[in-house]
Amino acid sequence: MWSKRVKFGLAALLMTGALAGCGQTDNNNSSSAGSNEGGAKKEETYSGTISLAGSTALQPLAEEAANAFMEKYPDVSITVQGGGSGTGVNQVAAGAVQIGNSDVPAAEKLDDKSKASELIDHKVAGIAFAIVVNDDVKIDNLTTEQIQGIFSGKIKNWKEVGGSDEAIHVINRPASSGTRATFEKTVMKDVKINDAIGTVQDSNGAVEQAISSTPGAVSYVAMSYLIGEKKNLKTVKINGAEPTVENIRTEKYPFWSYEYMITKGEAKDEVRAFIDFVKSEEFASTVKQMGYIPMTELE
């Protein structure tokens, strides 16, 4: 740890003297009191430090899970960072964190396949997305073809899909976004999004803000983000199906994906226990309350 810390001379020069005593959150200190691996039995206790980083879509859930887990096992300390799915995969591959959160499997982000084989994906929850429009748009259903036409720029006016005579304003997420990757994979399929039309907003929040204030606007956001009252925007059914768990299980609603927690090598001890906890029956109601889909309902 010391040599790492001294690496950046500037920092060391000024701070190490004062801080020699207090080390950083030790990344590899995975000491577990209970030696039995796997089965997260109630009697077992865990200790150590877990750090997570990555997907902003998964972050709120991970934070909530961390709080609940730490309440259960007070000797475990968990920190959750955002940064985006790319950061999550980067950091876990570099060994900087134990768990990388991602909207897509590690292999889809990494070009280097040999690196990807070291990483193991754990599905921890499902997340549904919805097509949303400004509430002045008089439409409550779109077919996959219509959505493809709108986002590829072929359909430019709401009257072409049965609405009133109003220009369509397309709002996209940036090309590197996990939400957009899911949208392309499950809805757009082979049709390419036209980036030269409409605008691009950086996040779910920015999309919501833009949709609710722009007449004729259409975009896509995570259902977890639509919990609570949202003004001036409404969700639209896809092929007549609402984004419910039931419709997802019966494959009527296409626009959803898993959220992944990625580990380098098999997860062990408290890391394993934490991932199991996120997927567990015990935590499922919180998952649901936060707008995600618990794994217990998907399997």
């Binding site: 972050q59 300390s77 955002g82 900087a96 009252e229």
Partner: protein, 307 residues
């Protein structure tokens, strides 16, 4: 007469521009404060944030912002004071000063996002610290170093030559003159500059997103010093208030995310205002204090002899 008319018209235009700028600021404050009404409630200022329910607070973020500011000042004030002294007193004019000045200018014009990305490479990845409060403080130090150095340098250069000469004439060394005569006289101006810089550090966001991180561990005062849960551990992630606003507006899923963001913005604006008032107040207080006692200080050797 036309020349006088034109003069009148332009005077009018100047007044209008000035009024517009003042009006703009007042308008900004009015909008931000009215949208964030209620930000003064203690349960908001000191409460814990919540991921799921409305009514969370910004306690940890506020602690982080101030603590990070403290660490950043602890790092950057001595550094820039030293550099200012070097530029003003010791460096030979010419090539070396020119080079340092060039570097200062280069640093000053760096986009803060570039510094943030550098911090991500240097303080987060290379050191292996991950996202830490110290990393954020170091990165923001880079941003503020040029400005603070300039403040210190000009404050030292603005000290009347008579003070310096008097001290040197009494046989003091250059260093003694600097520490006992020049710096005390330069302090009021420096303090003002530092407080204003502090306000800017407080409002910085882009840098911290990449270095100090987007979350805060559950802080407990009874935690071990080495644990990331201890509030004073600088090797822990620390989401500042500005980053909190950015995060709430972008990915906040709490039902009242927008309201918390608005209230946090109001807190920030008030903090910036307070920093400004503080700068003004301290500078006038210090100026009075030092101008009153300057005569005594002119002979720093007196004190030395007594000791």
């Amino acid at each position: 007469m036309t020349a006088r008319m034109i003069d009148k018209v332009w005077t009018g235009i100047f007044y209008a521009v000035a009024a517009a700028v003042i009006g703009l600021l007042v308008f900004f404050f009015a909008v931000v404060l009215s949208k964030g009404a209620g930000f003064w409630q203690p349960e908001f200022l000191f409460g814990r944030p919540s991921n799921t329910q409305a009514g969370g607070g910004i306690g940890p973020q506020l602690i982080n912002s101030f603590y990070l500011l403290g660490v950043a000042l602890f790092l950057s004030v001595p550094l820039s004071l030293g550099a200012g002294v070097y530029l003003a007193e010791y460096a030979k004019q010419g090539r070396i000063v020119g080079m340092i000045r060039l570097c200062l200018e280069a640093m000053a014009s760096l986009p803060s996002i570039v510094v943030g990305l550098f911090g991500l490479l240097a303080f987060v990845t290379l050191t292996g610290w991950g996202y830490t409060l110290l990393g954020g403080a170091l990165a923001v130090t880079i941003i503020n170093l040029p400005g603070l150095t300039r403040i210190c340098e000009t404050a030292i250069l603005d000290v009347p030559a008579s003070i310096r000469e008097g001290s040197l004439a009494l046989g003091a060394t250059r260093w003694q003159t600097l520490v006992k005569a020049v710096l005390p006289a330069a302090i009021p101006q420096m303090v003002t500059g530092v407080i204003l810089a502090a306000g800017r550090i407080f409002g910085e966001a882009a840098v911290f997103i990449y270095t100090a991180g987007l979350t805060t561990p559950m802080l407990r005062w009874d935690a071990d010093w080495s644990s990331s849960a201890h509030p004073l551990n600088v090797f822990r992630p620390a989401e500042t208030l500005t980053v909190h606003i950015w995060k709430l507006n972008s990915e906040g899923i709490v039902p009242d995310a927008k309201l918390i963001a608005a209230k946090s913005a109001a807190v920030l604006m008030v903090a910036v205002l307070l920093f400004n008032l503080a700068a003004r107040l301290t500078s006038s207080l210090l100026a009075r204090h030092f101008s009153g006692s300057r005569r005594a200080r002119r002979g720093p050797m007196k004190r030395n002899k007594a000791a």
